[in-house]
């Protein structure tokens, strides 16, 4: 009996392509970032959103109704009016509170692992997926073993 030529790894190839697409989409979303603020108010809000309200749990200075968070927003606006940059304002709060005042870890030092590890894991997943895809495409179009097993039944 002649063997039907089919691709036994077709579903694996589809999964691999889907994984690669997902990895690409996640990398795109993760690296895209926010659009730049247009006004001083937007910049103040962006800075406050990146700073933790010190007396709250997991609330940014932009979102918290606590008086100290309100004062943080006032200070941010005042400092922007004086000509301080966003980085200088953030550094001022870090000087008093340390890096824990930041809603997201800094991109340098030990905390950078928080950024590097997921990206590394995504890259590794993409690499594995690419290798699997390459392997599945190189496989012979028929599977003799499968056919012999089918004929024996």
């Amino acid at each position: 009996m002649s063997a039907t030529r089919r691709r036994p790894s077709g579903s694996a190839a589809m999964v691999t392509v889907a994984v690669l697409a997902a990895v690409g989409a996640l990398l795109f979303i993760g690296l895209r970032g926010d659009p730049p603020p247009q006004t001083r108010g937007q910049l103040a809000h962006q800075i406050a959103s990146g700073l933790r309200c010190p007396v709250c749990q997991d609330l940014s200075a932009a979102d918290s109704p606590a008086p100290i968070a309100r004062q943080m927003r006032v200070q941010i606006d005042e400092k922007l009016a004086k000509g301080e940059t966003a980085a200088e304002i953030r550094d001022g709060f870090i000087a008093a509170y340390g890096n824990s005042v930041l809603m997201t870890p800094p991109r340098h030092g030990l905390a950078s692992v928080a950024y590097g590890f997921p990206l590394g894991a995504l890259g590794l997943a993409g690499l594995v997926a690419a290798l699997l895809l390459r392997r599945s495409l190189r496989r012979p179009m028929s599977d003799e073993t499968e056919l012999i097993r089918t004929e024996g039944r």
């Binding site: 010190p54 100290i68 004062q71 000087a95 008093a96 509170y97 340390g98």
Partner: protein, 184 residues
Amino acid sequence: MSTAQRRLFLLAGVTALVLALAGFLATGVGKDHSIVASPLVGKQAPDFHLQGLDGSAASAVGLSDLRGQVVVLNFWASWCTECRIEQAVLDQTWQRFRDSGVVVLGVNFQDAPGDALDYVAAAGSTYPVVADTDSTTALAYGLRGVPETFVIDQAGQIVERVIGPVNAERLSSRISTLLAGGSR
């Protein structure tokens, strides 16, 4: 390479990766104490000029005016239960060291003026108290809640930050060391 060998290598690789990650977390991240410690310790205390609870100019206190003295700066609020625990300790410290070049200064935080005045009257505290009405001083000191106490040496440098109620013995020991000319 056989399938069994490949599986063995894979298992060894995954195990090594997990162990490396665990080791990194245990030694690297675990040693980063900046999350809980104040970055201000060892640095010059932020200056301030705050009015007393009554709002009068006569009761205002500036930190720079206290240079040359040891300052025990205590952030508190009338709604803070733990603040009541340390109230007596702070007052005893003030009474014991006030003639030796030590100032205990209460800084009222996020409070209604009337409540703060009632609290001071009821507690019978005798050391000076000022009001940080807009939390500017609290932000400058990296305050995360009350009570928090900063010990500032004669040169205006923060030598200790205490989160929660102060310990009488530890505070007295620290002050005695500073008065004797030591810093730690």
